[in-house]
Symmetry: C2
Subunit: 186 residues, 2 copies
Protein backbone atom coordinates (compact mmCIF):
# COMPACT_ATOMS: atom_id res chain seq x y z
CA UNK A 1 0.00 0.00 0.00
CA UNK A 2 1.43 3.36 -0.93
CA UNK A 3 2.09 5.93 1.78
CA UNK A 4 -1.08 7.77 0.94
CA UNK A 5 -2.29 11.05 2.41
CA UNK A 6 0.56 11.74 4.87
CA UNK A 7 -1.48 14.55 6.49
CA UNK A 8 -3.93 11.86 7.68
CA UNK A 9 -1.56 8.98 8.29
CA UNK A 10 -1.11 7.24 11.66
CA UNK A 11 2.07 5.21 12.22
CA UNK A 12 2.47 2.27 14.59
CA UNK A 13 4.91 2.73 17.48
CA UNK A 14 4.22 -0.61 19.16
CA UNK A 15 1.45 -3.18 19.58
CA UNK A 16 0.23 -5.13 22.62
CA UNK A 17 -2.12 -8.11 22.53
CA UNK A 18 -4.63 -7.38 25.32
CA UNK A 19 -6.94 -10.38 24.74
CA UNK A 20 -6.58 -13.59 22.79
CA UNK A 21 -9.65 -15.77 22.74
CA UNK A 22 -10.67 -18.56 20.39
CA UNK A 23 -12.14 -15.96 18.03
CA UNK A 24 -10.84 -12.51 18.97
CA UNK A 25 -7.29 -11.17 18.87
CA UNK A 26 -7.57 -7.74 20.49
CA UNK A 27 -4.72 -5.24 20.16
CA UNK A 28 -3.82 -1.99 21.84
CA UNK A 29 -1.30 -0.12 19.70
CA UNK A 30 0.59 3.03 20.48
CA UNK A 31 0.52 5.23 17.36
CA UNK A 32 1.97 8.50 16.11
CA UNK A 33 -0.71 10.88 14.81
CA UNK A 34 -0.17 13.19 11.82
CA UNK A 35 0.40 16.13 14.18
CA UNK A 36 3.19 14.26 15.97
CA UNK A 37 1.19 13.42 19.09
CA UNK A 38 0.92 9.92 20.45
CA UNK A 39 -2.31 8.09 21.10
CA UNK A 40 -3.64 4.54 21.39
CA UNK A 41 -5.74 2.56 18.95
CA UNK A 42 -7.74 -0.50 20.04
CA UNK A 43 -8.87 -3.01 17.45
CA UNK A 44 -9.55 -6.62 16.57
CA UNK A 45 -7.35 -8.58 14.21
CA UNK A 46 -9.40 -10.87 11.99
CA UNK A 47 -8.46 -13.44 9.35
CA UNK A 48 -11.10 -12.22 6.89
CA UNK A 49 -14.29 -13.82 5.60
CA UNK A 50 -16.25 -14.63 2.46
CA UNK A 51 -19.95 -14.01 1.80
CA UNK A 52 -21.80 -15.84 -0.97
CA UNK A 53 -24.85 -14.73 -2.89
CA UNK A 54 -25.99 -18.16 -4.09
CA UNK A 55 -28.69 -18.06 -6.74
CA UNK A 56 -30.68 -21.20 -7.55
CA UNK A 57 -31.68 -21.94 -11.14
CA UNK A 58 -35.19 -20.62 -10.42
CA UNK A 59 -33.70 -17.27 -9.33
CA UNK A 60 -34.18 -17.71 -5.57
CA UNK A 61 -31.29 -16.81 -3.26
CA UNK A 62 -30.11 -19.02 -0.40
CA UNK A 63 -30.17 -17.46 3.05
CA UNK A 64 -29.51 -18.80 6.51
CA UNK A 65 -31.17 -17.96 9.79
CA UNK A 66 -28.76 -18.04 12.71
CA UNK A 67 -28.79 -16.88 16.31
CA UNK A 68 -26.23 -14.09 16.71
CA UNK A 69 -25.32 -13.99 20.34
CA UNK A 70 -24.08 -10.37 20.42
CA UNK A 71 -27.52 -9.25 19.15
CA UNK A 72 -29.44 -11.68 21.35
CA UNK A 73 -31.61 -12.97 18.54
CA UNK A 74 -31.78 -14.88 15.27
CA UNK A 75 -31.24 -13.00 12.02
CA UNK A 76 -31.31 -13.68 8.29
CA UNK A 77 -27.96 -13.65 6.51
CA UNK A 78 -26.30 -14.72 3.31
CA UNK A 79 -24.07 -17.78 3.77
CA UNK A 80 -20.64 -16.68 4.94
CA UNK A 81 -17.65 -17.78 6.92
CA UNK A 82 -14.12 -17.09 7.99
CA UNK A 83 -11.10 -17.76 5.80
CA UNK A 84 -8.98 -20.55 7.26
CA UNK A 85 -5.23 -19.93 7.52
CA UNK A 86 -3.69 -20.27 4.06
CA UNK A 87 -7.04 -20.90 2.36
CA UNK A 88 -7.81 -19.29 -1.01
CA UNK A 89 -10.93 -17.11 -0.82
CA UNK A 90 -12.76 -19.09 -3.50
CA UNK A 91 -12.08 -22.25 -1.47
CA UNK A 92 -13.61 -20.54 1.57
CA UNK A 93 -16.69 -19.62 -0.42
CA UNK A 94 -17.08 -23.15 -1.78
CA UNK A 95 -16.54 -24.74 1.63
CA UNK A 96 -18.86 -22.42 3.55
CA UNK A 97 -21.66 -22.69 1.00
CA UNK A 98 -21.47 -26.49 1.19
CA UNK A 99 -21.20 -26.63 4.99
CA UNK A 100 -23.99 -24.15 5.67
CA UNK A 101 -26.46 -25.08 2.93
CA UNK A 102 -25.41 -28.41 1.39
CA UNK A 103 -25.08 -26.81 -2.06
CA UNK A 104 -22.20 -26.71 -4.54
CA UNK A 105 -21.93 -24.21 -7.40
CA UNK A 106 -20.26 -24.42 -10.80
CA UNK A 107 -20.24 -20.70 -11.64
CA UNK A 108 -18.41 -18.39 -9.22
CA UNK A 109 -18.16 -14.71 -9.98
CA UNK A 110 -16.07 -12.40 -7.78
CA UNK A 111 -17.90 -9.15 -7.05
CA UNK A 112 -15.69 -7.24 -4.64
CA UNK A 113 -14.66 -6.68 -1.06
CA UNK A 114 -16.03 -4.78 1.92
CA UNK A 115 -14.61 -3.82 5.30
CA UNK A 116 -17.43 -4.26 7.83
CA UNK A 117 -16.01 -2.46 10.79
CA UNK A 118 -13.19 -0.04 9.92
CA UNK A 119 -13.18 1.69 13.31
CA UNK A 120 -12.07 -1.33 15.32
CA UNK A 121 -11.40 -4.34 13.10
CA UNK A 122 -9.19 -5.15 10.12
CA UNK A 123 -11.73 -7.70 8.86
CA UNK A 124 -12.41 -7.82 5.15
CA UNK A 125 -15.31 -9.73 3.59
CA UNK A 126 -14.88 -10.96 0.02
CA UNK A 127 -18.12 -11.15 -1.99
CA UNK A 128 -18.98 -13.88 -4.50
CA UNK A 129 -22.00 -14.51 -6.68
CA UNK A 130 -22.45 -18.28 -7.08
CA UNK A 131 -24.66 -19.90 -9.71
CA UNK A 132 -25.04 -23.34 -11.21
CA UNK A 133 -26.14 -24.62 -7.80
CA UNK A 134 -26.63 -28.29 -7.00
CA UNK A 135 -27.80 -29.88 -3.79
CA UNK A 136 -24.97 -32.18 -2.74
CA UNK A 137 -25.51 -33.11 0.86
CA UNK A 138 -27.02 -32.17 4.17
CA UNK A 139 -25.66 -29.22 6.15
CA UNK A 140 -22.34 -30.00 7.80
CA UNK A 141 -21.96 -27.36 10.48
CA UNK A 142 -19.09 -26.71 12.83
CA UNK A 143 -19.54 -27.72 16.46
CA UNK A 144 -21.68 -25.09 18.20
CA UNK A 145 -23.27 -23.86 14.94
CA UNK A 146 -27.02 -24.08 14.36
CA UNK A 147 -28.79 -22.54 11.41
CA UNK A 148 -31.84 -22.87 9.18
CA UNK A 149 -31.56 -22.67 5.38
CA UNK A 150 -34.21 -20.90 3.36
CA UNK A 151 -34.59 -19.27 -0.03
CA UNK A 152 -36.01 -15.91 -1.05
CA UNK A 153 -36.34 -14.11 -4.34
CA UNK A 154 -34.01 -11.14 -4.76
CA UNK A 155 -37.02 -8.83 -4.65
CA UNK A 156 -38.33 -10.38 -1.43
CA UNK A 157 -34.85 -10.18 0.11
CA UNK A 158 -34.56 -6.49 -0.84
CA UNK A 159 -38.04 -5.91 0.58
CA UNK A 160 -36.78 -7.48 3.83
CA UNK A 161 -33.92 -4.96 3.83
CA UNK A 162 -36.37 -2.10 3.35
CA UNK A 163 -38.69 -3.36 6.10
CA UNK A 164 -35.83 -3.83 8.56
CA UNK A 165 -36.13 -7.62 8.76
CA UNK A 166 -32.64 -7.99 7.25
CA UNK A 167 -30.13 -5.77 9.09
CA UNK A 168 -26.80 -7.61 8.66
CA UNK A 169 -24.48 -5.25 6.77
CA UNK A 170 -22.66 -7.92 4.74
CA UNK A 171 -26.05 -9.29 3.67
CA UNK A 172 -27.45 -5.86 2.76
CA UNK A 173 -24.28 -5.03 0.82
CA UNK A 174 -24.32 -8.44 -0.86
CA UNK A 175 -27.97 -8.17 -1.89
CA UNK A 176 -27.66 -4.64 -3.29
CA UNK A 177 -24.46 -5.64 -5.10
CA UNK A 178 -26.09 -8.78 -6.47
CA UNK A 179 -28.99 -6.71 -7.78
CA UNK A 180 -26.47 -4.56 -9.68
CA UNK A 181 -24.61 -7.66 -10.90
CA UNK A 182 -27.71 -9.62 -11.92
CA UNK A 183 -29.90 -6.82 -13.25
CA UNK A 184 -27.72 -3.74 -13.64
CA UNK A 185 -24.67 -4.72 -15.64
CA UNK A 186 -22.14 -4.51 -12.81
CA UNK B 1 -37.60 -9.20 21.59
CA UNK B 2 -39.70 -12.35 21.44
CA UNK B 3 -38.12 -15.69 22.20
CA UNK B 4 -37.74 -16.46 18.53
CA UNK B 5 -36.60 -19.71 16.99
CA UNK B 6 -35.87 -21.70 20.18
CA UNK B 7 -34.11 -24.42 18.14
CA UNK B 8 -31.44 -21.80 17.29
CA UNK B 9 -31.39 -19.81 20.51
CA UNK B 10 -28.30 -19.36 22.72
CA UNK B 11 -28.83 -18.30 26.34
CA UNK B 12 -26.36 -16.40 28.52
CA UNK B 13 -25.04 -18.23 31.58
CA UNK B 14 -22.59 -15.53 32.69
CA UNK B 15 -20.47 -12.73 31.25
CA UNK B 16 -16.88 -11.62 31.94
CA UNK B 17 -15.29 -8.36 30.80
CA UNK B 18 -11.89 -9.42 29.44
CA UNK B 19 -10.76 -6.00 28.17
CA UNK B 20 -11.97 -2.47 28.78
CA UNK B 21 -10.20 0.19 26.77
CA UNK B 22 -11.21 3.72 25.88
CA UNK B 23 -13.13 2.34 22.88
CA UNK B 24 -13.60 -1.40 23.26
CA UNK B 25 -15.54 -3.33 25.91
CA UNK B 26 -14.69 -6.97 25.18
CA UNK B 27 -16.78 -9.75 26.73
CA UNK B 28 -16.38 -13.47 27.12
CA UNK B 29 -19.75 -15.03 27.91
CA UNK B 30 -20.55 -18.59 28.86
CA UNK B 31 -23.66 -19.62 26.91
CA UNK B 32 -26.08 -22.54 26.67
CA UNK B 33 -26.47 -23.80 23.10
CA UNK B 34 -29.78 -25.10 21.71
CA UNK B 35 -28.56 -28.71 22.16
CA UNK B 36 -27.88 -28.09 25.86
CA UNK B 37 -24.10 -27.91 25.56
CA UNK B 38 -22.09 -25.04 26.94
CA UNK B 39 -19.70 -22.89 24.96
CA UNK B 40 -18.15 -19.41 25.03
CA UNK B 41 -18.94 -16.38 22.92
CA UNK B 42 -16.47 -13.49 22.55
CA UNK B 43 -17.71 -10.12 21.40
CA UNK B 44 -17.45 -6.36 21.62
CA UNK B 45 -20.11 -4.23 23.28
CA UNK B 46 -20.64 -0.99 21.39
CA UNK B 47 -22.85 2.05 22.04
CA UNK B 48 -24.06 2.22 18.41
CA UNK B 49 -23.43 4.75 15.68
CA UNK B 50 -25.12 6.88 13.04
CA UNK B 51 -24.15 7.27 9.37
CA UNK B 52 -25.37 10.21 7.30
CA UNK B 53 -25.90 10.42 3.57
CA UNK B 54 -25.74 14.20 3.22
CA UNK B 55 -26.85 15.50 -0.17
CA UNK B 56 -26.04 19.06 -1.20
CA UNK B 57 -28.57 21.10 -3.19
CA UNK B 58 -26.62 20.34 -6.37
CA UNK B 59 -27.00 16.60 -5.76
CA UNK B 60 -23.43 15.89 -4.61
CA UNK B 61 -22.91 13.75 -1.50
CA UNK B 62 -20.49 14.65 1.30
CA UNK B 63 -17.77 12.11 2.04
CA UNK B 64 -14.79 12.14 4.34
CA UNK B 65 -11.35 10.65 3.86
CA UNK B 66 -9.88 9.30 7.07
CA UNK B 67 -6.96 7.08 8.04
CA UNK B 68 -8.31 3.88 9.52
CA UNK B 69 -5.59 2.44 11.65
CA UNK B 70 -6.81 -1.20 11.61
CA UNK B 71 -6.60 -1.13 7.79
CA UNK B 72 -3.31 0.81 7.71
CA UNK B 73 -4.55 3.32 5.17
CA UNK B 74 -6.94 6.15 4.41
CA UNK B 75 -10.39 5.35 3.07
CA UNK B 76 -13.47 7.18 1.83
CA UNK B 77 -16.52 7.05 4.05
CA UNK B 78 -19.83 8.71 4.63
CA UNK B 79 -19.82 10.97 7.72
CA UNK B 80 -20.58 8.88 10.80
CA UNK B 81 -19.96 8.66 14.49
CA UNK B 82 -20.76 6.98 17.75
CA UNK B 83 -23.89 7.69 19.77
CA UNK B 84 -23.01 9.39 23.06
CA UNK B 85 -24.59 7.98 26.21
CA UNK B 86 -28.22 9.10 26.37
CA UNK B 87 -28.07 10.88 22.99
CA UNK B 88 -30.99 10.62 20.56
CA UNK B 89 -29.87 9.16 17.22
CA UNK B 90 -30.98 12.22 15.25
CA UNK B 91 -28.88 14.38 17.60
CA UNK B 92 -25.89 12.13 16.87
CA UNK B 93 -26.41 12.51 13.14
CA UNK B 94 -26.72 16.29 13.42
CA UNK B 95 -23.68 16.57 15.67
CA UNK B 96 -21.42 14.29 13.64
CA UNK B 97 -22.33 15.92 10.34
CA UNK B 98 -21.49 19.34 11.78
CA UNK B 99 -18.28 18.19 13.49
CA UNK B 100 -16.94 16.23 10.52
CA UNK B 101 -18.02 18.46 7.64
CA UNK B 102 -19.16 21.85 9.05
CA UNK B 103 -22.64 21.40 7.52
CA UNK B 104 -26.10 21.51 9.07
CA UNK B 105 -29.22 20.04 7.43
CA UNK B 106 -32.89 20.99 7.66
CA UNK B 107 -34.38 17.80 6.19
CA UNK B 108 -33.55 14.52 7.95
CA UNK B 109 -35.07 11.29 6.71
CA UNK B 110 -34.56 8.05 8.62
CA UNK B 111 -33.75 5.16 6.28
CA UNK B 112 -33.03 2.17 8.52
CA UNK B 113 -30.48 0.32 10.57
CA UNK B 114 -27.65 -2.11 9.89
CA UNK B 115 -25.56 -4.37 12.10
CA UNK B 116 -21.99 -4.18 10.73
CA UNK B 117 -20.42 -7.08 12.51
CA UNK B 118 -22.92 -9.62 13.88
CA UNK B 119 -20.32 -12.29 14.59
CA UNK B 120 -18.46 -10.36 17.28
CA UNK B 121 -20.09 -6.99 17.99
CA UNK B 122 -23.51 -5.75 19.06
CA UNK B 123 -22.97 -2.47 17.17
CA UNK B 124 -25.88 -1.05 15.22
CA UNK B 125 -25.54 1.80 12.73
CA UNK B 126 -28.60 3.99 12.15
CA UNK B 127 -28.86 5.45 8.63
CA UNK B 128 -30.10 8.95 7.80
CA UNK B 129 -30.51 10.84 4.55
CA UNK B 130 -29.90 14.55 5.21
CA UNK B 131 -30.86 17.34 2.81
CA UNK B 132 -31.31 21.08 3.00
CA UNK B 133 -27.60 21.40 3.75
CA UNK B 134 -25.94 24.64 4.80
CA UNK B 135 -22.30 25.32 5.50
CA UNK B 136 -22.21 26.55 9.09
CA UNK B 137 -18.64 26.37 10.26
CA UNK B 138 -15.26 24.74 9.89
CA UNK B 139 -14.74 21.11 10.87
CA UNK B 140 -14.63 20.67 14.63
CA UNK B 141 -13.02 17.28 15.12
CA UNK B 142 -12.38 15.35 18.31
CA UNK B 143 -8.81 15.23 19.58
CA UNK B 144 -6.85 12.68 17.54
CA UNK B 145 -9.23 12.88 14.54
CA UNK B 146 -8.01 14.03 11.14
CA UNK B 147 -10.10 13.90 7.98
CA UNK B 148 -10.60 15.53 4.61
CA UNK B 149 -14.07 16.48 3.37
CA UNK B 150 -15.00 16.02 -0.27
CA UNK B 151 -18.11 15.66 -2.39
CA UNK B 152 -19.03 13.16 -5.07
CA UNK B 153 -22.11 12.60 -7.17
CA UNK B 154 -24.13 9.52 -6.26
CA UNK B 155 -23.14 7.95 -9.57
CA UNK B 156 -19.42 8.61 -8.99
CA UNK B 157 -19.69 7.25 -5.45
CA UNK B 158 -21.39 4.08 -6.75
CA UNK B 159 -18.70 3.78 -9.42
CA UNK B 160 -16.12 3.95 -6.60
CA UNK B 161 -17.92 1.03 -4.91
CA UNK B 162 -17.81 -0.98 -8.12
CA UNK B 163 -14.13 -0.20 -8.69
CA UNK B 164 -13.16 -1.12 -5.14
CA UNK B 165 -12.10 2.38 -4.10
CA UNK B 166 -14.91 2.51 -1.54
CA UNK B 167 -14.90 -0.63 0.64
CA UNK B 168 -16.38 0.53 3.94
CA UNK B 169 -19.55 -1.51 4.51
CA UNK B 170 -21.60 1.24 6.19
CA UNK B 171 -20.73 3.52 3.27
CA UNK B 172 -21.59 0.92 0.62
CA UNK B 173 -24.86 0.13 2.38
CA UNK B 174 -25.63 3.83 2.79
CA UNK B 175 -24.92 4.63 -0.85
CA UNK B 176 -26.99 1.75 -2.23
CA UNK B 177 -29.81 2.61 0.19
CA UNK B 178 -29.62 6.29 -0.75
CA UNK B 179 -29.90 5.36 -4.42
CA UNK B 180 -33.11 3.48 -3.62
CA UNK B 181 -34.39 6.35 -1.49
CA UNK B 182 -33.49 9.12 -3.94
CA UNK B 183 -34.21 7.38 -7.25
CA UNK B 184 -36.15 4.22 -6.48
CA UNK B 185 -39.06 5.14 -4.27
CA UNK B 186 -37.79 3.54 -1.06
Amino acid sequence: MKNDYPHLREEKIDSTQVFRGRLLDVRLDRVRLPDGQECHREYVRHQGAVVVIAQLDDGQLLLVRQHRYPLGRSILELPAGKIDAGEAILATGTRELLEETGYSATDWRYLGVMHPCVGYSDERIEIYLARGLRREAEQNLDSGEFMDVLSLSLQDALAAVKSGEITDAKTITGLFWAEKAILGGW
